[in-house]
């Protein structure tokens, strides 16, 4: 089993790790770094639950080799709250206030994908949101509710909400 030493930058922190060359980013985040917020629902790139942001773009971490993620900025759900104050990101707050989850397995992927959208498009329409999140499955059927949460977060962020 070929191993490789690499440095991964996750949520602003650099980690030196020795991983199998075949290890996925999802595995390494979860098993090596204990960042269990990235969920595995299919492990085959079909559901979007394992989404993390790599250099700001949503990426399926179960379909990404850990070695591919070297020298990139990786953001997981654990890195979303304000590092100084611990305050939730407005998208997280919107999900909390409006019950944007039931079982919670799709939640990390939904929030991060929504963040990538809102960072680029501050005033998305309902169609924009549905399209951006179309690769994220929610078996609990909360598509309408999640759309509401993202719309609410977008409005808050436009109002200068930031991380308050």
């Amino acid at each position: 089993m070929t191993m490789k030493t690499l440095v991964l930058k996750v949520n602003g922190v650099e980690y030196e790790l020795k991983v199998r060359v075949t290890a996925t980013l999802a595995e390494v985040l979860r098993e090596e770094l204990g960042l269990i917020g990235t969920k595995i629902m299919c492990n085959e790139g079909e559901c979007g639950a394992c989404t993390v942001l790599v250099n700001g773009r949503p990426v399926l971490s179960c379909m990404t080799l850990a070695i591919e993620a070297e020298n990139k900025d990786i953001l997981t759900i654990e890195g979303l709250a304000d590092p100084a104050t611990g305050d939730l990101h407005p998208i997280q707050k919107a999900f909390v206030e409006r019950s944007g989850m039931q079982c919670g397995v799709c939640t990390s992927g939904m929030i991060l994908t929504a963040k990538a959208l809102l960072d680029e498009n501050h005033d998305p329409s309902e169609d924009d949101i549905r399209n951006a999140l179309s690769g994220n499955l929610c078996r609990c059927g909360n598509y309408r509710r999640i759309t509401e949460c993202v719309l609410a977060a977008a409005e808050k962020m436009r109002g200068g909400g930031g991380n308050d």
Binding site: M1, T22, R30, E31, G34, L35, I36, G37, T38, K39, I40, M41, C42, N43, E44, E46, C47, A49, T76, I77, E78, L80, A81, L88, Q92, F95, V96, E97, R98, S99, G100, M101, Q102, C103, G104, V105, C106, T107, S108, I111, E126, D127, I129, R130, N131, L133, S134, G135, N136, L137, C138, R139, C140, G141, N142, Y143, R144, R145, I146, T147
Partner: protein
């Protein structure tokens, strides 16, 4: 300054609460409840940890020295294991234990036909070996080194084939493919021919009184539960005591199963079920838990099993499939004179829940749902060599209702009656006969009634129709709402119902020294919002803040055992028990406060975190009472269902909930593609504890029913029984793009307090699954004048039906 404490609405004590606790409830239909009660959509108890990624699910558990388990699965549907050689696997570095039928105890897991690992497999994907190794990769490698010689046996997959004389037997020693019980599983009311029957009135006479008789068949599709977390379990022994972390909705069954499989006392088995993840019915690790526990025992290390998605497809369970036949007799004035139903169910190779589905359908859908006086229904279960069915959302009712609601539509058309009016006239309501599903399976046949809460049913239909603008859009039978080129829009209605069982259940409420409370309950938070509902109800009852109540759930070392979060029973049963326990605590608090306030307990009330003398400013903080009396604890059990009786008739009130759903579709007649563009769905909650969570549950059922009807094809190879699409690209769940937008998804909730549940609240989650699928089918009929009965409402099937109809013309 008093804080607003209406956590689920105004604080109230019902006139009948005390009688109910004493087991003498007589429901008072005119119980006065404050008019504008709407529960508060408080923040979920589990919201913050879920958005922060801190919620720890079973696959997230990491224990020191933990091993990983993988399973070798049969490629054949029906085969005997002639030989199995695990020596190479055992020799692989990192492999710690290998199990086969040769070295596991001969005990029966929850599914009763075979042993844990048997020398014969009965469905493709059944386990033949288990491996525990240092890493999942090593375990996978080890599976490849196990050498198995199979003797392939004749198999049968199809219902009709399995019922023919001389058909291959799904279980060779069983002698027949018609289920008739086993040594471990007895179905008392099964007739000698293996059929279960229920009859009311006189169908023969009823049919003679009809102006029209219609009949038809409809086979309901299989559906894969697709829990977001595939099956997972972690087991660890400390000496001869087992701890098992299990992702399950049914703690009690698993707890008993583990204890009996190992022959150890239940007190030595600790089952922890948080966080469970909705299996949408029946999620439990079954024999996977026992096998994982055996691996843990033999290696002396904790072992974790996590199924892959493909494994979860082929190795867990799915929704039962019914071949329905219905015959209905109807009069011109819209009276239903008789109803006959026959249900033949494809069981697959085995099931842990024999006859629960069909028992439910026989009572609920086929005998109660419309208040027909004459009905007969009969059903049998047929064993085949596909994966066995388990519980899935609606559990027995949607599979029958998908057929009944089509023939009801046909009957309404025959007499040229508006389908909304037809259902409004005939749907079940307060005072109509009702029974529990288990009575038709185990007896006795004793009819009770539906309670006053079920006068919600006609109200639901009416409100649904109003909201959907039915009177404007419905232009008559076979007249689409609109036509634009190839695209035809149609509208259709269906109704549904399901029980919300009132189970025995215990709960403990324990006050902490600072006046906050922990609620110990054996039920499970799996995403449905159970922990939140409990905290709201207990806080309301005790007069303390919602933030100060923390549920401790589903840990058999600490919480009273609970059967399971199934049958939409959570609100009705489990939350109710916590309310009763809180009332017990409140009585104690009042007693303890009385001497301090120089009053007697009857003059006291709990409110705003204090105990008050009613009508005065005299109070003592609950925290003070708890600080000096730190043993304040309350325990309670639900009264039996037979204690819940109607005041007028004295009959037992049975717990049900209803739904009415109107769907608007757009059908492309060139491609057959169906889009569901608008859904209006009405439900009754008894009393809504948390409106947003209630809506979320409705959305779950609607989305699942939408997918079941249109896109979630479960494709089994007819020659091998193998599932052809065990992945989420080829098994198509709905996405954001398939759901109606914005205001085109309307949920309506009607509140009529029920007799048994906390503050009149009842469970209603599965009900939301029961009406949409046939509503879509009925809307398609309205759009294109063609009824699609076979298979899913995919573009292919709809087009085929259109072409068939054109050929006939």
């Amino acid at each position: 300054m008093t804080e607003e404490f209406s956590i689920i609405g105004k604080n109230l004590i019902r006139k009948d609460d005390i009688e109910k606790v004493k087991g003498q409830a007589r429901y008072t239909p005119d119980t006065q409840l404050p008019v504008s009660i709407v529960g508060k959509s408080v923040v979920r108890k589990d919201a913050i940890e879920k958005v922060k990624g801190q919620a720890r699910y079973i696959p997230d558990i990491q224990l020191p020295a933990m091993l990983h388990a993988k399973f070798l699965r049969s490629p054949y549907a029906h085969a005997r294991i002639k030989s199995i050689d695990t020596s190479k696997a055992e020799a692989l570095p990192g492999v710690k234990c290998v199990l086969t039928h040769q070295n596991v105890p001969k005990v029966h897991p929850l599914r009763k036909f075979e042993y844990l690992i048997d020398d014969t497999v009965h469905h493709p994907g059944e386990e033949v070996a288990a491996v525990a190794a240092l890493t999942p990769e090593i375990a996978e490698e080890a599976l490849k080194l196990i050498e198995v010689e199979y003797e392939v046996l004749p198999a049968v997959f199809n219902l009709e084939e399995a019922m023919k004389p001389g058909a291959p037997l799904a279980h060779q020693e069983y002698g027949t493919n018609i289920y008739h019980g086993t040594d471990l599983s007895h179905i008392p009311r099964l007739d000698k021919d293996g059929w279960l029957r229920l009859e009311v009135g006189d169908v023969g006479k009823g049919f003679t009184e009809a102006d029209y008789i219609l009949d038809g068949t409809c086979e309901s599709p299989i559906q894969y539960n697709c829990s977001p977390m595939p099956r997972a379990v972690v087991c660890e022994w400390a000496g001869d005591k087992l701890t098992c972390w299990a992702d399950t909705q049914l703690p009690l069954m698993l707890w008993q199963d583990l204890a009996s499989s190992f022959g150890i006392p239940q007190s030595d088995v600790r089952l922890i079920c948080n966080y469970a993840v909705g299996g949408y019915g029946g999620k439990k690790p079954e024999k996977t838990a026992t096998l994982t526990a055996i691996l843990a025992k033999r290696t002396g290390r904790p072992v974790k099993t996590v199924f892959s998605r493909a494994e979860d497809f082929i190795g867990t369970h799915h929704r039962i499939s019914y071949k329905n036949y219905n015959k209905i007799g109807v009069k011109k004035d819209g009276t239903i004179t008789a109803m006959y139903s026959r249900i033949i169910a494809n069981w697959g190779s085995d099931t842990p829940e024999p006859y629960v589905c069909q028992g439910s359908a026989l009572v609920h859908a086929c005998t109660m749902m419309y208040e027909w006086q004459n009905s007969k229904v009969e059903t049998c279960g047929v064993l085949t060599n596909i994966l066995g069915y388990g519980a899935m959302n609606g559990f027995g009712d949607p599979e029958a209702i998908i057929s009944i609601e089509r023939i009801i539509d046909e009957a309404a058309e025959k007499i040229d009656m508006d389908p909304v009016e037809f259902r409004f006239k005939n749907c079940m309501r307060y005072g109509d006969k009702a029974m529990e599903w288990h009575q038709v399976v185990y007896g006795p046949i004793e009819w009770g009634i539906l309670g006053p809460d079920m006068d919600s049913f006609p109200e639901l239909i009416q409100k649904c129709a109003e909201k959907a603008q039915w009177k404007i859009k419905w232009k008559g039978w076979r007249t689409p709402v609109s036509i634009e080129g190839n695209k035809k829009k149609g509208i259709g209605i269906a109704i549904g119902q399901h029980h919300t069982q009132f189970f025995p259940c215990s709960a403990i409420v324990k006050m902490n020294q600072d006046g906050t409370a922990n609620v110990l309950s054996g039920a499970v938070e799996m995403g449905q919002g159970y922990a939140t509902a409990v905290a709201q109800v207990v806080a309301e009852t005790l007069g303390i803040r919602y933030e100060d109540v923390n549920p401790t759930l589903a840990d058999t070392a600490a919480t009273p055992a609970y059967f399971g979060n199934v049958a939409s029973a959570g609100t009705s049963s489990a939350v109710n028990a916590t309310k009763l326990a809180a009332e017990e605590v409140k009585r104690k608090l009042l007693e303890l406060a009385a001497p301090r306030l120089n009053a007697s307990a009857e003059d006291l009330e709990a409110r705003d975190g204090n105990i008050w003398v009613k009508g005065t400013n005299n109070k003592v903080p609950i925290a003070d009472i708890c600080f000096t009396n730190f043993q304040v604890t309350g325990t309670a059990n639900n009264p039996p269902l037979t204690a819940i009786r109607d005041e007028k008739t004295g009959k037992v009130i049975h717990p049900y909930a209803a739904a009415a759903t109107i769907a608007e579709v757009e059908v492309d007649t060139e491609t057959g593609q169906v889009e569901v563009i608008r859904i209006t769905s009405a439900h009754d909650s008894g009393r809504t504890i948390n409106p947003v969570i209630c809506e979320n549950q409705i959305d779950l059922g609607l989305t699942m029913a939408n997918g079941w009807a249109r896109t979630e094809e479960y494709i089994i190879d007819s020659k091998t029984g193998v599932l052809m699409n065990p992945n989420l690209l080829d098994y198509k769940l709905l996405t954001f793009l398939d759901i109606p937008k914005d205001d085109d998804l309307q949920r309506i909730v009607v509140e009529r307090p029920c007799a048994w549940g906390p503050y009149g609240a009842k469970g209603m989650s599965e009900t939301s699954m029961t009406a949409l699928a046939p509503a879509i089918a009925n809307a398609i009929y309205n759009a294109i004048g063609v009824r699609v009965y076979d298979g899913s409402l995919t573009a292919e099937n709809v087009l085929r039906a259109i072409e068939k109809a054109q050929k006939r013309q």
